[in-house]
Amino acid sequence: MRVFAFLLLTVATLQAQYYDNYFGANKVNYTIFDWKILETEHFEIYYYPEMRELAERAAGMAEEQYVELQNLFNYSVKSKIPMIIYSSHLHFQQTNVSPFEIPEGVGGFFEFFKGRVVLPSDGSTYHFRRVLRHELVHVFMTSKVNRVLGDHRKLSHPGPPLWFTEGLAEFWSGDPDFQAEMVMRDATLNNTLVPIRQFYRVEGTYYMYKLGENLLHFMAETYGQEKILLLLENIWKSDVFEKVVMATVGKDYETLNDEWVYWLRKRYYPSLSDRDAPGAMANVLTKEGFNTKPAFYRNADRDELYFVSNRDGYTSVYRQVIGQEEVEIVIKGERSHDYETFHFFKSKIDINKKGELAFVTKSGETDVLHIYDVSSRRVTHRYMYANLVGLASPSWSPDGDRLVVSGLSKSGNSDLYLIRVSDGAEDGYIRKITNDFYDDRDPSWSPDGRYIAFSSDRTQNGWQGLYNICVYDLSTDRAYFLTRGPYMDATPAWSPDGRWVMFTSNERGSTTDLWVVPFSNGQSTFVKDIDRTGSSDAPSSHEPKRFLNLTTAAFDPVWINPDEVVFAAFDRFSFRIHHLKGVSRRLAGLDSVSRAVTDWYNVPWTTPRVTITQSNTKPYEKKYGLDFVQGAFQADPVFGSGGGAQLAVTDMLGNDQYYFLIYNTARGTSDLLTDWNFVVTKVNLNQRTSFAYGLFRFKGDFIEIGDGGDIEILDESRYGGFFQASYPLTKFQRLESSISVSRFKREEAPTILPVDGILVSNFLGYTVDNSLWGPSGPLDGSRASLALGYTMDARRSQQNYYTVIADYRHYYRLTLRSAYAFRTMVQWNDGKNPQNFLLGGSWDLRGYPRWSIPGTRFFVINNELRFPFVDALDIKLPFGGFGLRSVRGAVFLDLGSAWGSQITDGSVVLGNEKFDGVVGSVGTGFRLNMWNVLVLRFDFGKMFDLRGYRVGRFRLPGNRDRFITTNFETGGNEGFGGRIDGTLLEKRRWSRGIFFQFWFGVDY
């Protein structure tokens, strides 16, 4: 996709216009996959050989889900469903099915145009099956809704709202998981539920998913299961979903919301009688942002807490001295190649007695295990393994020379591995200690070094996503169950004396609490051998005991000493780290709690499976199909309006893409047949270096500055071809190059520009971008681009010039949601008859009409303070109402100048032949994020002229008489059908330089 963006850049540059669409992080195709297709009755499963077993299980599970969903929907999807699977999230992030960057939180997606289901394994078969189910609900739901609306000829129907589609996908994916319970209980008890009519406030968030799921749960329980299907079958009855709900359950949103909230309160308020909020039980150590995965280190006389947090928007490792509020960033994440992403909720961190912090980040193609010395503040070791795509939750041995980690192989299986850490030859040696498709995670090394406790779904209930705590005995290489029963037991942590293992646990339909199980260093403690041989059930004295009983959920316990633990807990829609004292007293007073026990003597669980044979599998063959079609309508104050269409044809994996853009720029019927424009582009994304080539023909208006300062609209035709390549060095950096050849012909005009020629342009560029975005633009990080180009007229040598474009932007975070943004940009064409750049407008020099200041060279310096203005504003009117969200404010100061203009008419000066000082503007404005699609920018300010300005004895360069401004009387503002008229360049008095501007586009 980067290549395509660069195409736009190049075309824009050819047009002597330049926008900042050359930034953005890269989606790097590190891995070349040997794709195969497994065909089943209802699916085409795309897989690569390394995950053959996963593909077979995916096929079996998909067919199983299909039958269940056919029953639930009373509907059959008849075309084969394409399902593209990846053995890890890191591979999944390389998919080209979606052009967008895929964040860690996305577990899979359904693509509507081709009906593709795309999902990765994370080592948990249950999770894979649940995500698969979620996406298949989308497949059935989309097909059924389209069918119902088509049957009723309601082709312009907007469809159900997102909260319903995602809520239903969750609701029909299985019982609510503990996270759903955690979120809904927290929202109910803290009175932060969002009313149904205001679900748009949380549109697209995880919270919206859970609200939708819970509301449908309530409706099914209260009004009947059949109502959920009826909501789909009644969708044709109204374009307004509330009326569909009304027709189905007979209640409007207001009434339904009251009933739902009451239902939730009845369900969760009683829990206050025997449960406590985490903040009531323990000291809250962290309050800002999400904070998880604590690790403890006794550093001389200080108790230091290390944890992962996203408090500033980036996820990083922080340090906090227990008892103090100040925090310090230890490892800055998500800003560099080495620390692309921390696996925020998945991977623990650990620190040994020597002060070596072990943590995992994604770095390029695979995860990397880092060892960071907190004393010297440097990384001492980095480990990555070609066959281990994913790594998670390192845990140190007591002597600090080994680590145990959970590793995800290319096959998609999650197992435990031991890694040697030393300065010798054996450094990095790795040994696998479990080996099967069961999910083994959260390892924790015992204080005596003999045992490793871990969480595993190799229990009888594992297929339901339930885990128990197991213990691996390194002295015998045997493993045992430490807990049993239908629970989600996770994140074990040994007490310093090795007598207790604390872990998190929840029953189905509940949230996670802290539990402990005694450990007496003997096999009699264990419930059962992991292979179900050997000793029988453990004595009841070794049953786990509930340690805390919280209203919400607890995670990741870590012992500080025998009497203190820290843990993360969810509270008020935030993850906070808590510090609990008096542990030994609490342990002594714990009562035994009878936990459910299941039959241990059944065979281990497995999944349905479709065996891959020669007859049902074949190598991947490119089949091209329509990916998207969209109408294109352009309404431009300069170029007028025009219409056209764009469509893309891609193969199933999205690696090969053809784009066809066609539009007409005719201003009258006489031009209708001649003013056709098209671009045909082939984009190849199959390998790390992506490339694109194509042909284009432009016919229509070419903007140039004519005599008298008017913007000349010249008729021009241009056709040619181009080739571009892009090589991403990392996620944040890339090299790009392009060449284009075009023949142009334009009408005679009173300018010095040639009327015809063959232009050959070459560009080489380097771009870096690690910015962090807010609702209207970047808030943190930096972006830079340097492009060098050479353009020549190969026919008559009327134009031969080089181009330098340098653009640097830095965003200084002031608070969580405010920043100071700085940009300096230089664009320079030099040589024979170079093309003019056109400065002015909302994106570079505010106040000055767009493209009003010509020059073959220009620079701008922009300074902007960005801050939250209005988070939510609901306006109620007698005939309805509307709401505004994420309105941001800005205060700006722009400086700039353009010179080297080729316009030499002297009657009214337009631009300058030589550098003639600096003009600028200062003002304020606001930006309105509209549905995360557009940003409406409004700026109000005053232009100023620093040319010839005196500061004491100093006089700035330039001539004040040549002030360039806009025509206020004629309303020459940008956008909204406004116009730039022919009197743009009148001299204006200083006091008249007040302006306002509207435009659509994100902040620079």
């Binding site: 039958v67 009723h152 299961q225």
Partner: protein, 384 residues
């Protein structure tokens, strides 16, 4: 000649008297009374047996196809060589059975999802939204007998002995006068009635979204009995002289005594793959046939409920079988209409349509008429 008559009829289309309808249709010129059994409502007759004593000999040949303005409602009615059906964009069509040509249509602003019942030139149908929601139209006289607002109606009415029986989404079952639509009695169920009522003796039997199968006296609406299945009942019952056959969304197919509602036998699907019953059954002298969302068509011996055979299709079955003397015809969401030998379940014929089959088929003489998504009505007949 026929074309001239049709053209004349189209020219006679007048604005209807309903405020939200247009067009009118008369069958006067086309009415041919014959000895063939009519398929006058969902399931052919007031018992919704789905059985007519006719004979079709698959393979069948396509007699004609018709392309209405939208997908077809759930019921096709054939009476006296005329085909009636509703389309989901709010139209009622009348076609000539022999030629497949349109004779006329009525236009409404809302859809009749369930379809019509037809007795003695009176067509009665419900509308799933808007007002009015119950329409009685005299096809011979081209006039509305009544227009009633009883809340959204998604059941196929049954007309019997001058009574119209239907259920509404408002949770009420009604008996109306077929001449003027006057409410004779009503029974409130508390939840929508989407299960079209059937008549057996002096009883009207229907299900509701409470999961109840209910029998009421058809003259006064007093409840004879009810049976609670626990989950919504969307399918219509099929009756014979003594028993009620009806599947519920609790995955169970029930045979109840028509007299007292006692369970005679029941069959639960889902042991190997999940299934449910949204489709109405058909019953002949020996067997009862019903399709399920698991894609299977089940045939039971009707007195004891022994499973005789099953046939798997590749899509959910949400329509009722149509049964002749020797064959069963069943449409599936796998796009196919199947013809089965009814003693063994052997598939002897199948035809791939343009889309899922969600409209209940009809039989009339040597014709099998059915519809599929993609806006096609098909008429097949014996080759010889």
């Amino acid at each position: 000649m026929n074309r001239c008559v049709y053209a004349l009829l189209f020219g006679m289309l007048l604005l209807g008297e309903g405020c939200r309808s247009s067009g009118s249709v008369s069958i006067a010129s086309f009415f041919r009374r014959g000895g063939t059994a009519n398929w006058s409502t969902l399931g052919a007759d007031e018992r919704r047996s789905g059985y007519v004593p006719t004979e079709l000999h698959p393979p069948l040949e396509l007699a004609w196809k018709f392309f209405p303005s939208s997908s077809v409602g759930s019921v096709i009615v054939v009476s006296d060589s005329l085909v009636y059906f509703t389309s989901l964009d709010g139209r009622v069509y009348v076609l000539n059975l022999r030629t497949g040509r349109e004779i006329g249509k009525l236009k409404y602003y809302h859809a009749s999802t369930a379809g019509a019942a037809l007795v003695h030139h009176t067509m009665v149908f419900g509308l799933a939204a808007g007002k009015p929601t119950v329409v009685g139209y005299h096809l011979y006289d081209r006039r509305y007998l009544f227009l009633k607002d009883l809340g959204p109606v998604e059941t196929t009415p049954v007309v019997f002995d001058d009574y119209v029986y239907l259920g509404s989404d408002a949770g009420v079952a009604y008996a109306l006068s077929s001449s003027d639509g006057e409410v004779i009695w009503k029974v409130e169920t508390g939840k929508p009635v989407r299960s079209s009522p059937a008549i057996g003796g002096t009883s009207v039997v229907f299900g509701d979204d409470n999961g109840r199968i209910r029998s009421v006296n058809r003259f006064n609406g007093k409840t004879n009995w009810y049976y609670d299945t626990g989950q919504a009942v969307a399918a219509a019952p099929a009756l014979d002289e003594t028993q009620v056959y009806l599947g519920s969304t609790d995955s169970t197919f029930y045979c109840l005594s028509l007299k007292d509602g006692q369970v005679q036998w029941k069959y639960r699907v889902g042991a190997t793959r999940p299934g449910n019953f949204f489709a109405t059954a058909a019953v002949d002298d020996e067997r009862v046939y019903v399709g399920a969302t698991d894609g299977y068509l089940y045939a039971f011996e009707k007195t004891k409920g022994h499973l005789l055979w099953t046939v798997k299709t590749d899509g959910a079955i949400s329509t009722a079988p149509a049964v002749t003397r020797s064959h069963v015809f069943i449409g599936s969401q796998d796009f196919h209409m199947y013809g089965l030998e009814k003693k063994t379940g052997e598939i002897v014929w199948k035809f791939r349509t343009s889309g899922r089959i969600k409209t209940n088929p009809a039989l009339y003489g040597e014709y099998l008429i059915f519809a599929s998504e993609g806006r096609y009505i098909y008429a097949f007949k014996n080759i010889l």
